[in-house]
């Protein structure tokens, strides 16, 4: 079941939660709505679910939600056939796990309600699916957070939804459980292939779990794409800053002169460090701090010309070869940078101190030959 949201706007009083957002989710995909709090991602999810309704505008084609081409905009949540999982589980505390999962089936009108044994079979099957086989008789407050969220998921799946919507499903869990549940959800998705949309503010979660990532900011969609694409080719300064670690440096200073560009972004792993200040294309910097854990060492540096701090991620072996010490003066090379003037962007690989543009935004590219 594909999902389409057309030109959705939503205001709460004078606050704009969504400013004309359109989105298409293909059948069977696992899609992440990623953004900081207040970006409108949860509101969009709730509008898809029918828990919230978009603003009514003069344009009749705006503010519509379609499931597989059929307009469901005026349908209440219960009839849309969506499974919804809440951040804080929203389990019915006075019911057992079994009754919670069976709820969606037992509230059906008598004509379409399955018989008791059928319901029991279905619930037991779901309990197996979410790996809580023997816990059907427990009360929700006797379960851990991760278990509760799995019960919530089973409850949503009980009515065989065509669309599964999850609002920050791992938000209330601690890091370890989160990782585990994330992997498990991915497996479950492979198994069931229900069109799934989940909301998260955790970029790692979105990139690791989703087939497609929708990055949202300030009531708008910034970029839609596969995780790799969004990470490697961010469409805006917001996306690059939100996805993963990045250094933001002033362009147009010293050797980073690039006409028309104000800001330069470089990922820590695209920063290379060499000894001495003699390297021709290098940027002079001083080592402030070195910390190594795992395969990579994290080096904090200060630019010699502007004093800006930035980080480099250097392989451990390389770090050992360099024998860096705090306070060393070094030369820094950037392998891949993104440059943004106000509003537009240029993306470039750096070879032999030359910028080779790989992609450009609205503004005509210039400054390609500049030393970096």
């Amino acid at each position: 079941m594909s999902i389409e949201a057309r030109n959705i706007s939503k205001h709460f009083g004078s606050y704009t939660a969504l400013g004309g957002v359109s989105l298409k989710v293909e059948t069977g995909r696992l899609t992440a709505l990623l953004g900081p709090s207040g970006s409108g991602k949860t509101t969009l999810l709730r509008i898809i679910a029918g828990l919230e309704f978009p603003d009514v505008t003069a344009d009749p084609t705006a503010g519509r939600v379609l499931f597989h081409g059929a307009d469901v905009s005026d349908m209440p949540a219960g009839q849309r056939g969506v499974g919804f999982v809440f951040q804080h589980y929203a389990l019915f505390k006075h019911m057992t796990v079994f009754d919670n999962i069976a709820f969606g089936l037992t509230v059906r009108p008598r004509k379409t309600r399955p018989s008791r044994p059928e319901i029991a079979d279905r619930v037991n099957e779901l309990l197996r699916l979410v790996q809580l086989d023997n816990l059907g008789g427990r009360m929700p407050d006797q379960l851990s957070g991760g278990q509760r969220q799995r019960v919530a998921l089973a409850r949503a799946l009980a009515m065989q939804p065509k669309v599964l919507l999850l609002d920050e499903p791992f938000g209330a869990l601690d890091a370890q459980v989160r990782k585990e549940l994330r992997r498990w959800l991915r497996q479950l998705h492979e198994q069931l292939h229900v069109t799934t949309v989940f909301v998260t503010h955790d970029q790692e979660e979105a990139l690791e779990l989703a087939d497609e990532v929708v990055v949202m900011n300030q009531a708008k969609i910034e970029q839609v794409g596969q995780p790799q694409e969004v990470y490697d080719r961010p469409a805006s300064p917001f996306v690059i800053e939100f996805l993963g670690n990045v250094n933001r440096l002033a362009a147009g200073e010293s050797r980073l002169r690039t006409p028309g560009k104000d800001v330069l972004y470089v990922r820590p792993h695209d920063v290379d460090i060499q000894h001495g200040s003699a390297i021709r294309h290098g940027l002079a910097a001083r080592v402030l701090h070195i910390f190594s854990a795992g395969n990579y060492g994290r080096v904090t540096l200060a630019r010699a010309d502007t004093g800006e701090h930035f980080e480099a991620e250097v392989a451990r072996d390389r770090l050992r070869d360099l024998q860096l010490k705090q306070g060393d003066d070094v030369s820094v090379m950037f392998r891949h940078v993104r440059l943004f003037p106000r509003g537009e962007f240029t993306e470039a690989d750096v070879r032999d101190g030359k910028l080779t543009e790989t992609k450009a935004g609205a503004v005509p590219a210039h400054g390609a030959g500049e030393h970096i």
């Binding site: 809440f86 019915f92 006075h94 709820f103």
Partner: protein
């Protein structure tokens, strides 16, 4: 020496002042509640069983128990749905004058009960605002058991509203949304999700309203007409006996009311516990 001080340290509680606060609590309860109760029982100890029995089991007294406990029970029961509805409206809807309505709920708490009784009597008497409408229908409220019930309903209402209201306020809206996405109708959501969550508060509110109604005197004596065997409540009988300097008789009745009220409240508490346990099993 050393080990005993270590032991003392290990048994020390994190929260300070346990001994002092518990001591105060017990002393306070003892003086304010237990002592008068003991005095009540002690006073009746001077009676023989036969005297006691005639005091507490004469037909007129039995009739007064029936009206007191019966009307209290009906009033509290009636206040349950009405109180829940009122709390629901106050919590869930925004409307002009909501604060005023909210404040009005407390009025039966604050109003001197005699004032309430006079006001109710004025309204429900034959020529009163409501009374004259009911009169042609053959319904008499003032000076009948119905009047007793009206007065007890009036004074009991805030108990249900005020116990249910905070629970309703804290009920997560997600619960209802979850039920809605699972296909439940509003009625199903209310019956199967909201009501069970409110149940403990409702029972507590019911118990409080009932307990208050059993002991109510001021508002009832005006509207009931106090006809023996018919609309005479037990608290009034106690006052009557006191007026006749029959202190022992009065305390004997008090003992019966005490034991009766305590038994009923205890039973409610027990049912509440069992309900919770059943829900957990």
């Amino acid at each position: 020496m050393n080990s005993s001080s270590a032991q003392r340290r290990s048994s020390r509680r994190v929260l300070p002042g346990f001994g002092l606060s518990l001591g105060f609590t017990l002393a306070y309860l003892g003086i304010i509640i237990l002592l008068p109760l003991v005095a009540t029982f002690a006073k009746t100890a001077g009676m023989t069983w036969a005297e006691f029995w005639t005091a507490v089991a004469s037909p007129r007294v039995i009739a007064s128990y029936e009206i007191t406990f019966g009307a209290s029970l009906l009033a509290a029961l009636f206040n349950v749905p009405c109180g829940v509805l009122l709390a629901w409206v106050l919590v869930r809807y925004e409307f002009p004058g909501r604060r005023l309505v909210d404040a009005l709920v407390d009025l039966p708490f604050a109003l001197p009960t005699a004032v309430a009784g006079i006001a109710l009597t004025a309204i429900y008497a034959k020529n009163g605002w409501i009374g004259h409408c009911l009169e042609p229908l053959g319904i008499k409220v003032a000076y009948t058991p119905v009047g007793v019930w009206v007065a007890l309903t009036f004074i009991g209402l805030p108990f249900v509203v005020r116990t249910v209201q905070p629970i309703l306020e804290e009920l997560e809206p997600e619960l209802e949304e979850a039920a809605a996405t699972l296909g439940a109708t509003r009625a199903q959501t209310f019956r199967r999700v909201i009501l069970p969550a409110l149940r403990p508060a409702v029972v507590t509110g019911f118990a409080l309203a009932f307990a208050r109604a059993v002991g109510e005197y001021g508002s009832v004596v005006f509207i009931s007409g106090n006809r023996p065997m018919h609309t005479e409540i037990t608290p009034l009988l106690i006052i009557t006996k006191l007026d006749q300097y029959d202190y022992q008789g009065a305390t004997a009745l008090a003992v019966v009311m005490l034991v009766g009220s305590f038994a009923i409240l205890f039973l409610i508490q027990l049912m509440q516990r069992q309900g919770t346990r059943r829900a957990r099993a």
